[in-house]
Symmetry: none
Amino acid sequence: MTSARTPVWKSIADELRRSIAEGHYAQGEKLQTEAELAKRFGVNRHTVRHAMSALAKEGLVHARRGAGVFVLATPLDYPLSERVRFHQNLEAAGRLPDKQMLSVEVRAASESDAQGLALNVGGAVAVLRSVSFAGGTPVALVESRFPEERWPGLADALRQDTSVTRAFAVVGVGDYTRVSTRLTATLANATQALRLRIREGAPLLLTEALSKAPDGFPIEHGRTWFASERITLTLDHQGN
Amino acid sequence: MTSARTPVWKSIADELRRSIAEGHYAQGEKLQTEAELAKRFGVNRHTVRHAMSALAKEGLVHARRGAGVFVLATPLDYPLSERVRFHQNLEAAGRLPDKQMLSVEVRAASESDAQGLALNVGGAVAVLRSVSFAGGTPVALVESRFPEERWPGLADALRQDTSVTRAFAVVGVGDYTRVSTRLTATLANATQALRLRIREGAPLLLTEALSKAPDGFPIEHGRTWFASERITLTLDHQGN
DNA sequence: CCTTATTTGTACGTATGTATC
DNA sequence: TGATACATACGTACAAATAAG
């Protein structure tokens, strides 16, 4: 007779939480499989899942279907006060520490591309996609569009250098300025959620920025989706 | 838990379908390889193949072993769903036209009040709640806190004048400056949804601002929830 | 024609998400 | 809870077709 006043799943959650808090798992490390944990605790897989669900709700772990359950952050390692200054982002949107390039693609300009980048419909547009990390955790998705038509070779330059600024320099654009930034909020779709390791439908902060080259022509139209749970943009109104 | 309401392969299929519909690919043009797409979306190649399979079934693309996947048709009937948006300046946050005051309340300062407004815990704090409209439609909820303790009569002044600036003038604060603004994204709760006439869970853009009087003391700690579907905050980098 | 790299197709195994009984 | 079934997703390996030299 297990006079279990506390539910079994809860005690399992407690044990796993303690184990994580004690630093037995590195950030991003995979936990034992549910089946293994079920065997270890002598319970059904459902009971383990109940415990996992609790930990996921607390933001401690993140389950990826078909992959496993991963430790998101050790509470001590991830200060909630972590912030990114907004005008740093304005100067360097998409250039947060630990940027991982996903793809560079050249395709035809759609109507909205053409309008945003001052090109003709069908003209070549380079599309760069990347993920930004902070402390090992993904915090933002970036999708930038560039007028390959106007600055040929830009796509290749972007492929070879993680720095957008240096890629610009390669094609002869030594300087560029942020013209405007628009701010909205959206909900994470399935792929965004997967990449940012958050749940589908989680709130995202979307910045849409336009930059121009010295000659006045638009050179970058970038959109950045920030995982709002992990990052807070701050505006400093003092001295810029 | 990933709460995978939408299968990842489906959201990938959706994105590729939209991309094709927007005219980014000419008829017969080759898509990115499965490996590239897998990297771009952060999934296994099988997941991309599942999405491709769906598109092939729809007759949109055709895969040729050893060659690639090619666009067969480019449907032109893609709905762009252009939304009407109100563009407002960020400086106007919380000071939008057509403000409807909901309540002015004086209460004792909590810990966070005290910290934000540089008061002692228990000191008098005025809380102003209002809704902002644009063109008859609610676009934002505002909750501002003021140090009634330091500027007695502020609550009464706020009750009698819809303009915060004029209320400040009544208690002798002729000028004040925005010190900082923090930006995050959240989901609308039931009451917010009701006030803003949006659905529960809709994305909200939350700005948290701190303003100071000329003497350096904080005079307003305001939070504004913008209905992101109706409003876009824009930052102008020219003169500011 | 041959070689090599690239790309899609197929197969098997494992793990999680969800539903049902 | 326990047990089972199926859909989704990842990982790896290799076969087959294609393209480029």
